[in-house]
Symmetry: C2
Subunit: 254 residues, 2 copies
């Protein structure tokens, strides 16, 4: 019993320390609707982004592939499916990161990803908070997509997404990296789950479209604070962000 109380105190203290040192902040660059509108020019360097987190997802200047930030390393899954470690000088038009700390852990086997998310939903404190989600282990199947670098004039994301290359993996070890965001950030980020994938050998991955779980561990980091850097570009100043793009987002993300 004493051990349990001590462990609970340690977790509580850890939580307080995280809150105080800014580790429980979900940080994002730009807004999802700006990206939907074709604002693909890099806004923040990867070096700067990494000052706000060691874990996260996003994309790169010119929409050049899917971003995975994992254990402080920034990976790019290119349109051809290949994975590259990214230099700090590269830039991102849209990304979300945090410093990852374990707040909740659960094991799952033999479910599809949608079922896992439903079950996880029931165990999270609330759908009104932000969570960073790490799902690691064996996947029976993962279907992903990536995106090749775009050239100007940029087309809206919903058009680009219609021709994006897809990849399928079977019985693969790897890790999903991403977030669960609350409903009230519609237009700002992706409400619900948004996950990217990397194989264990860091040679393939992409934006997760669907998956069947073999045996995985899910680690959740509660990040109740939110910090958004809006772009300083003229393009952002001039884009029309009044339109509801929920239907388009659904088409792009699913």
């Amino acid at each position: 019993m004493k051990k349990l109380v001590l462990a609970a105190c340690a977790l509580l203290l850890q939580g307080l320390v995280h809150a105080a040192d800014g580790r429980d902040v979900l940080m994002q660059v730009s807004t999802i609707d700006a990206l939907m509108n074709g604002l693909y020019d890099g806004e923040l360097s990867i070096g700067e982004l990494k000052r706000h987190g060691d874990f996260g997802i996003g994309t790169f200047d010119a929409l050049d592939g899917e971003m995975v930030v994992l254990d402080g390393q920034c990976y790019q899954v290119r349109g051809d499916g290949s994975v590259h470690v990214v230099d700090d000088a590269r830039t991102t038009p849209f990304a979300t990161v945090t410093f990852f700390d374990e707040d909740q852990t659960a094991a799952f086997s033999d479910v599809d990803l949608a079922q896992l998310q439903q079950t996880l939903d029931a165990r999270l404190p609330s759908e009104n908070l932000f969570y960073a989600i790490r799902i690691e282990g064996v996947f029976k199947k993962v279907r992903t997509r990536s995106v090749p670098a775009q050239t100007k004039p940029y087309r809206p994301l919903v058009e680009v997404a219609r021709t994006q290359p897809e990849f399928e993996f079977e019985n693969v070890r790897g890790v999903m990296v991403g977030f669960r965001a609350p409903p009230f950030v519609k237009g700002v980020n992706v409400p619900g789950y948004h996950l990217h994938f990397l194989t264990e050998d860091r040679k393939a991955g992409g934006h997760v479209l669907e998956a069947a779980i073999g045996e995985v561990t899910v680690i959740v980091d509660h990040t109740p604070d939110f910090y958004m850097q809006l772009p300083r570009s003229r393009a952002f100043q001039e884009v029309d962000l009044t339109k509801d793009r929920e239907a388009e987002l659904y088409e792009v993300e699913k």
Copy 2:
């Protein structure tokens, strides 16, 4: 010419310094929709709030009046119309603050507040960014409201607002304090303008419903970064934030 260039350089440097030292961050506690839902329990102390800004608006624990933070001082306009300087130990369920720096200035005379806002809109860089707005001078008329402290069980804000006390001032010197927020923060903050008023003698004020300008100076602070602390309370975890409350917000704010 040399003077002009030097002045421009000084402003630019100032801007860079503000961005680097976190002064150009709009910080808010909780979300407007949580407040609309009757979550009036204080979440953050005024002392903590002031660490994030010297300028802003909000309300107090139990919805006990309208908050104005001005030049680092926190004022409460109570439901009876009286104004009080607030102790750092008091708490707020919803507030928005920043460190105020002058980025743009304009003079206005003999217009109503809606016209002033329209003209200002055309001069701001974009409707996609956050701005802190300070309007100071002589007002021909200001109509405000405040709100008396509520008791549990709390009613939704739209119900409370229907019976709130209103105040009217004529030919009064004073200052309006508030923000202009972009459309994509619907549900999170108040899109468009949101202003509170304090008379020059700091003895009256409230949430601004309408006003006719005599002669004022408007100072705008561009705050492109946004930081939101979500409540840690069980009430926030359990409240339904999926409903679109735009119509209710319009009824409450106007």
